[in-house]
Amino acid sequence: MAKKDKYFGGIISDPGSTLKYKTYVWRDGIKPVWDKEKCKNCMKCFINCPDNAIKVDKNGNMAGHKYDYCKGCGICAQVCPFNAITMRKE
């Protein structure tokens, strides 16, 4: 039987553990800023974020950015049809 061994077969049994690795440190001095007034909740930012760094509320609407993980790529700002997201200096 398999021993209780955290290195067993190199298998990771902690799903989603990358959440412990905060990638905000990758940001190069700029971050996205969300203007709630302009936002129409089209969710284009959400669907195009490679890092799942868009916060979503319980109704499935835009609720800001997860700044712990946002790498500052700027896709959300580029994609937004309503200019509700702008890239600003941190």
Binding site: G9, G10, P15
Partner: protein, 388 residues
């Protein structure tokens, strides 16, 4: 029940009785028969495994990897070039600790291409962290396969069971087989500790391991190989209780009190028996050690069995091309190194690419050993049965 079976038929039967969930394969001489026999079992409804005719051995090994990771008992058969094509995946299977079992009958490695029996493919696997068992005949092929299933699933390491290509795979012999239920109960149901199909407890298999974790993972694997020695013994004991047949690290023939002996793997050990009988009648203390478990290598046990001999010849059915003798010779010599008083040891390479070995040739090796005992100078390395 007594049946007349070839080595291939015996292994195919053992495979069927061990209740696999997935059987896959790609034809390769000399084990294509196993695949064909198994497909017939499936077509006739005698096995309820899923059969996957893969498009290459690399995919065969990958399919075994996937199936085993999904909690299925996965078997295949291969040899020679097929095993070589699988190589990358063999390491991955053992590194991921999956109990895949491969039925094999050793064949020479190309180039040039040779489809006959020698041990080069089996020896080629020695760094792969697979449990490696070698059978002398069809009976052992049958018994070893069944035990290998249990050993692999307990140790969580993959296993290969091989024999001499054509000499054993195609040789019709009397085999004592067990009943379906006996084998079924012996191997039990495969219940792995982790399973990729467990969606309640999702796991990640095969991550990227950087220098900060790789060594620990490998150490864990190495320890499993060492632990497997206990498991191999336990399984042999249990097997004895259902079959009456005893299995160990190796077989000894008239090794007790022997002065000279040959160490060999496979059917050649049987061929050497009449030679030793004749020598013993003449008062020459000759013996045979026939190795069954090659990985994990039973160094301590081998050392204990050989320490009182004067001279030993290790017969290799493959070449390591190191200029220092064959692979079996390397391993035996190194296990004797710890002795203060070491037996004299020479290496003879024979039977490459299916070249026959006969009693006369074996007799000549024993003559050389006798000369060695008398202190004469004998070449450390050499070939037997060479035409040039």
């Amino acid at each position: 029940m007594q049946q007349a079976l070839t080595g291939n038929e015996a292994m195919a039967l053992a495979m069927k009785q061990s209740n696999p969930d997935v059987v896959t394969g790609f034809p390769i001489t000399p084990v294509s028969d196993i695949l064909q026999i198994f497909s017939k079992y499936i077509s006739d409804g005698k096995s309820d495994a899923e059969f996957v005719p893969a498009e290459s051995e690399h995919s065969v090994a990958s399919i075994c990897f996937g199936a085993s990771a999904a909690g299925a008992r996965a078997f295949t058969c291969s040899a020679s070039q097929g095993l070589e094509l699988m190589h990358e995946i063999l390491h991955i299977i053992s590194g991921t600790r999956l109990p895949v079992v491969v039925a094999s009958s050793s064949r020479a490695l190309s180039g040039p291409i040779n489809v006959h029996g020698d041990h080069s493919d089996f020896m080629g696997m020695r760094g792969t962290s697979w449990i490696q068992l070698f059978s002398e005949n069809a009976q052992e092929s049958y018994d070893n396969f069944i035990q290998a299933v249990k050993i692999a699933e307990t140790a969580m390491l993959p296993a290969i069971v091989s024999s001499d290509g054509f000499f054993t795979s195609h040789n019709l012999e009397r085999v004592e087989t067990l009943g379906d239920k006996n084998v079924s109960d012996f191997v039990g149901v495969y219940s792995p500790k982790y399973n990729i199909l467990n969606t309640n407890k999702p796991i990640t298999i095969g991550p990227l391991s950087l220098p900060d974790s790789f060594m620990e993972i490998k150490k864990s694997q190495s320890e499993a190989m060492i632990e497997s020695k206990k498991i191999i013994s336990k399984v042999a004991q249990k097997f004895k209780s259902i079959s009456g047949r005893e299995y160990n690290w190796f077989k000894e023939y008239k090794l007790q009190g022997a002065e000279i002996a040959i160490v060999v793997m496979g059917s050649t050990a049987e061929s050497a028996i009449p030679v030793v009988d004749v020598l013993r009648k003449k008062g020459i203390k000759a013996g045979i050690l026939s190795l069954r478990v090659f990985r994990p290598f039973p160094a301590d046990e081998l050392m204990a069995a050989l320490k009182n001999l004067n001279s030993i010849a290790v017969l290799d059915r493959s070449d390591a091309f190191s200029g220092q003798g064959g692979p079996l010779f390397e391993e035996v010599k190194s296990s004797l190194y710890r002795l203060n008083k070491k037996p004299k040891i020479i290496n003879r390479t024979f039977g490459l690419g299916g070249r026959e070995i006969d009693e006369e040739m074996i007799g000549r090796v024993f003559e050389e050993l006798q000369k060695l005992v008398k202190g004469k100078k004998i070449d450390e390395f050499g070939y037997m049965g060479l035409k040039i």
